[in-house]
């Protein structure tokens, strides 16, 4: 068995909830692997990590991985994560969400979690579609794309997750794809070791629901597409905007070390109690 596989097995509930539900070629497994490697490389124990997930294919991760895991409601995972982090700031809280989860039904919670800078790492698995419910459009389904609910092409503008998180005030914002597993490892590790709210968006292909309706003949075509269109941020910045076309930037967009809300809260509370004790 390869070293990588061995490592992953160490973090899975292999005797309990397998085989998994992911389709062959789904990017979600790659993100799960990256998450496990990051936790391992940071030397965190399984007991100090709490993985909170929403509802969707991405949310299923919570069943498979052997941390403290909470499989919540569709779109609201960040609200549970906020309560958990404030209740126990010692925990490393990770929130796994789909694009529908995080941007559509849960959009409000996302901008507020970023704004209040709660010490949670949000991992958004963006497959541009609702996977679990059978391929309806989400708020990241590209303009013109087909889905079960946009049979004639999607007409709405989409969210740019990175720009949204930047504007809302997240401490750390990064983007990678399932084709760039090494980059993803580095980004998730960084996100986990920073204070405040971190967000990592990963493009995670869903051939079953998105690919087959949008002229991707095979899963491999989808990964090939990610490879071609993704552009390292430095290169992107130097590119003539007119030539960017349908390319998108990957890399780290925001890096700050502002204390998280829970830290600020504890400092305030401690100050109050000290003042009271001296009065």
């Amino acid at each position: 068995m390869s070293q990588v596989t061995q490592l992953i097995h160490q973090y899975l509930r292999h005797n309990k909830r397998f085989p998994h539900v992911y389709c062959p070629g789904c990017g979600h497994g790659i993100v799960l692997g990256s998450l496990v490697r990051s936790v391992h490389n940071l030397g965190l124990s399984k007991d100090e990590v709490c993985l909170v997930a929403g509802i969707g294919c991405s949310g299923r991760m919570a069943v498979y991985v052997d941390f403290n895991t909470v499989h919540t409601t569709h779109g609201r995972a960040l609200t549970f994560a906020t309560g958990i982090k404030l209740a126990n700031p010692e925990l490393t809280v990770i929130c796994v969400m789909g694009d529908g989860d995080a941007l559509s039904i849960g959009g409000n919670h996302l901008i507020h979690a970023a704004r209040r800078n709660i010490g949670v790492t949000a991992l958004i698995l963006n497959n541009n579609i609702y996977g679990m419910t059978g391929g309806q459009c989400s708020s990241t389904t590209p303009m013109g794309s087909r889905s079960m609910t946009t049979p004639y092409g999607q007409l709405e503008n989409t969210f740019d997750i990175v720009e949204l998180a930047k504007a809302a005030g997240a401490n750390y914002v990064a983007r990678s794809t399932a084709f760039h597993a090494k980059m993803m490892d580095a980004q998730i590790s960084q996100a986990l070791s920073r204070p405040g709210f971190s967000l990592v968006e990963t493009f995670s292909p869903c051939h079953t629901q998105y690919g087959r309706k949008n002229q991707f003949r095979t899963v491999v075509d989808m990964y090939q597409d990610l490879k071609v269109r993704s552009t390292p941020l430095e290169k992107w910045n130097e590119m003539d905007p007119a030539k960017r076309g349908d390319k998108f930037p990957i890399g780290v967009f925001v890096e700050r070390d502002e204390p998280g809300l829970e830290e600020r809260y504890m400092a305030m509370a401690e100050g109050l109690r000290k003042k009271e004790a001296n009065a």
């Binding site: 069943v63 909470v70 499989h71 609200t79 549970f80 309560g83 958990i84 209740a87 925990l91 919670h109």
Partner: protein, 383 residues
């Protein structure tokens, strides 16, 4: 000498909403998440002021009521005694997460200071229109505990009871208050520690490898391990097996749902709180709760002065419905009068239990006004 040993309890001149906070803090609440809405906001404001001053206390104003309830459940799973407070429209938003709390057996307290509705309704007028929503608002079959309070002192006491029940039975507990009680200011006594009992959830005593987080126990209530305490568990809103993993096996699904009901049914006598006043020989019994119970109390006194044998069955627990206490009266043939500030949400239960035995009359007031003693007295006279 005996007098000296008796320490004087602290007294306060407080609003009903402030008394809720006092009760919560006595019960050991260390987490509050909420979103402002009249007439419940004082609960949140006083919490914001007091929680950071208490050991380990944390307060957060969330972006809406859905978020507030999510944060409350998260904090509860992480080991806190947690609560939120709201009014009708906010309570509607909380319902999905109340269902989740039932499913994962997360202890928590939700205070609903009822105002007129539907929709934004009557923001500062009293009503009791959320009684059946408190029982059945969320999706799926589930038991729940719903309590009420009729005086400022009771706001304090019933909040302690709400926390105790939620911790004992691992169930969300809803405390219904109407605007009158919430915004009445009166003298209350803060009980001293030996005057009340505090319950906290049972923690597992076995090693983590042996722990089955949703296993049946003799009480029907499994021990609960806080997240981060070394018992690595999976919590899910999906129907789960005793280990906590999703299951669709009919035998496991049925057994789980039955256990949820059993843990409440089995402790019916402990949970169902009522108070009886002058009911022993009553020929007319008023069944009331919330501020209406206060009016009814006075109406009973006035009726007695007129020589009418009236009595009051004051419901403090609304659900599970105090069937036995009511049956005792209807078996004896007492006619029943149910005044309430809605179109008949508790009288529905009364009629169900009565099953046609005795005469049941209702007073239903939905104009945002109080039900007065004289209105009740007049109806007693007509029974």
């Amino acid at each position: 000498m005996a007098q000296k040993a008796r320490r004087k309890n602290k007294e306060l001149f407080a609003l009903g909403n402030e008394a809720v906070v006092e009760g919560a803090l006595l019960a050991g609440c260390t987490f509050f998440a909420g979103y402002p809405i009249t007439p419940s906001s004082e609960i949140m404001e006083v919490m914001a002021q007091k929680l950071p001053r208490t050991e380990n206390g944390a307060f957060i104003q969330m972006e809406d009521e859905i978020a507030s309830m999510g944060a409350v459940i998260g904090a509860s799973l992480a080991g806190r005694k947690a609560m939120t407070a709201t009014s009708g429209p906010g309570f509607s938003l909380m319902q999905e997460h109340i269902g989740y709390a039932c499913m994962v057996e997360a202890p928590c307290v939700i205070v609903n200071v009822m105002r007129g509705g539907p929709s934004t309704g009557l923001p500062t007028s009293p009503a009791q229109g959320d009684v059946q929503m408190a029982r059945w608002g969320t999706h799926g079959d589930h038991p729940i505990i719903v309590l009420s309070a009729s005086t400022v002192q009771e706001c304090l006491e019933m909040t302690i009871v709400a926390f105790n029940f939620s911790e004992k039975y691992r169930v969300p507990v809803i405390l219904l208050i109407d605007e009158i009680t919430a915004h009445t200011r009166e003298k209350i006594t803060i009980p001293s520690e030996r005057d009340y009992e505090i319950f906290s959830r049972v923690l597992p005593s076995m090693p983590p490898e042996w722990f089955k987080p949703f296993e049946e126990t003799t009480r029907g209530v499994p021990p609960m391990a806080p997240i981060g305490s070394g018992y690595r568990i999976h919590v899910t809103g999906l129907t789960h097996d005793p280990l906590g993993y999703p299951t669709q096996r009919p035998d496991e699904v049925e057994e789980f749902t039955h256990r949820l009901f059993r843990k409440i049914d089995q402790h019916f006598a402990d949970i169902v709180l009522t108070e009886e006043y002058e009911t022993k020989d009553a020929e007319v019994a008023v069944v009331a709760y919330g501020s209406v119970a206060r009016s009814a109390h006075l109406a009973v006194d006035q009726a007695r002065e007129q020589g009418i044998k009236a009595g009051l069955l004051h419901l403090k627990t609304l659900f599970p419905f105090p069937r036995a206490a009511l049956e005792k009266l209807t078996r004896r043939g007492a006619a029943i009068l149910v005044p309430e500030m809605n179109m008949g949400q508790i009288s529905r239960e009364v009629k169900r239990v009565n099953a046609g035995r005795v005469r049941v009359r209702t007073i239903n007031r939905v104009d945002g006004q109080i039900i007065t003693p004289s209105q009740i007295l007049k109806n007693i006279g007509q029974m």
